[in-house]
Amino acid sequence: MSHEHDSHHGHELSFIQKYVFSVDHKVIGIQYGITALTFLFFGFVLMMLMRWQLAYPDQPMPIVGSLFPNGMPNGLMTGDFYNELGAMHGTIMIFLGVVPLGVGAFGNYLVPLQVGAPDMAFPKMNAASYWTYLTGGLIMFSSFFLAEGGAAQSGWTSYPPLSVMAGQGQTFWLFGMVMLITSSLLGSVNIIVTIVQLRVPGLSFFKLPFHVWAQFVTSFLLLLAFPPLEAAGVLQLMDRLAGTSFFLPSGLVMGESVMDVAGGGNVVLYQHLFWFLAHPEVYVLILPAIGLITEIIATNTRKPLYGYKTIIYAAIFLGFMSFLVWAHHMFMTGMGTVMSDFFQVTTMIISVPSVVILTVLIITLWGGSIRYNVPMCFALAFLPMFAIGGLTGLPLGLSASDIYLHDTYYVIGHFHYVVAPGTLFALFAAVYHWYPKAVGRKMSSFWGKVHFWGSLISINFVFFPMLLQGITHLNRRMYNYPLTGEGTTLWDIYPHSASIQYLNEVISIAAWVLGAFQLVFIFNFFLSIKFGKKVNDNPWEATTLEWATPTPPPHGNFLTEPTVYRGPYEYSVPGEKEDFSPQHIEPKPA
């Protein structure tokens, strides 16, 4: 691991090997990051189209409407197109946006640096993981251009029998999903092996930064939860392509005639297999985010994390319990009160470690000399936003109240509070925090704060009204509700929700404003590569190993292999010259 070796490399690699088909974990991490951010923005655009239909139902959409001759004839959105947008918004945001950003980008970029490794354990497999992910994403994206039926439109959950009867887009969705699952499995094997095998001397498990622990637990969740979804995907593919009826019950009626299938299948079976993945998936979304937040909060409060081991044990317990709560998504399937009781008890139990984690982070703030820089602002906003998301989940975890709230906008408001101002704010914080390490320059602090305040205020105007709408029992999948004209309107079915109809317009306008503030981030992100303030190797004066590398870290990361002498969060140690004591600096004998 010498200079000689690195310069030797510089001659060997062409531009394409170095920046496109690279096996360097940092390049792959950045590729993951930029691809995921692009997909996030794309998924956001889909949602902004849906919000037009909800705010101004059955009114032609100006300008943009003319771009979609099939989905929006004369600028009017069809119900099928609305369903495509909804299904693909969910799929893209979760599987192509947030998880690849949290695990693919930050897991890849930071884990080897924080454990002191020269690269991931399997660099080529790491590259394979990225390219499989991109292929899966492009397969999903391309389904919008299918002549017959367009993209998948059975919701991100793809429940049968609807999804089995749906058009070609669903087959693309399934193939894309199999690619994404493969990519996640390759990535998680890599992360686990890297953490177990490649820690530098002195770096025991209980000296790892919490972010590494979070990625460790997350990888196990991906590893064990994704394959059952793959099983469900294979069975659904067989239903669609080979004519089996794994998920089709006997005597299923479609279009006024009994479907010509053997029958005998089980619809709820799919839901079990799906949610066995999809509940741990929630923690796959949130755990890396909490890990990143923990690093940022400890650095910017200039004091050790309160309860380092507590938060680790909480994360492990959280990971374990996440496999035992899946059927709380299925209280309405009629699976029986005994099952419901079991799953509502486990659901109440899993809220305990989440609260432990949040409490640890809040107590860490106590007595700290807090630096209110951009990453810290996002990190601080994460705490109450995630708390709202978590607490609004409790009524959904109890089967009695869930019967009322199920499939309403309350659910949408709840999980978006967890994922959008929760996880995504954490990921934004992380982009601002580690950008200087990857680029060598800071992102603009002023525009960062514009982005922060704009996003924080508008995002609450998006999701809080949804909670109110849901409490009046507004159904989450309705696409129009003509207030005038003939026939039954939504407000005849839901007269109790008529009084909150105006909130749809508020939400939509807030969503578009939120979109505008993301443009600030995009410009800041790209312009700072050239015009950002130059920084040294450790601009935030942090203690973990990634700040001990040159900036940006070269191929092979460390100039000499570091040895670790200290825990990860030794800030303001009494008797030390500076208020931070990096892990690789040997303490002076007293």
Binding site: P227, S245, F246, A262, G264, L273
Partner: protein
Amino acid sequence: MSDALIKYIDTPHPVTGVTNSKLGMWLFLATEVMLFGGLFSAYIILRSGDPTWPHGSQFLDINLATINTMVLITSSVTMVMSWASLMMKSLSKFRLYMGVTIILSFVFLVIKYFEYSHKIHLGYLPKTHNFFGIYFTLTGLHGLHIIGGIFVNLYFLITSGKAWREAPTTFTGRIEAAGLYWHFVDLVWIFLFPALYLL
């Protein structure tokens, strides 16, 4: 390549006692357990919910499946022998045993082909009944795993001369990992055979 910098490719980690690739292979097998576990659970639920579900022996050929079980178990033995030959520094024996392993894998697939074509000839298609659906899905997915294994083993056989000359320890480690995979594929069949044919 950057591989040169990464530790524990050839030598086991002093604490965990395994190389990177061996740990990685075990983790990969954990995902496979969950995949087939999900499918087996689906099989159990579908079967217990369907009173018309037949006994496997009514429609499937137990004799052919028994032969196939023997073929796969033998191929697992030869796979171990090929790895053991490398441990005893004999490349020629490795080639012999690896060759036999690959031939046995093809024998398995050929027998499977006759089974499939017989079923299709009789009109027992996946859509006929969920029993045939799950039969074709599970054995088909298992067959894909066999085909994947054949590709990997063929690659190792063809490149064995160069790989053995240049990095014998790495090569032996790769054969061991490939062996783990092959035993797992074998094990899946040991579960599939009673679940589909006998019960």
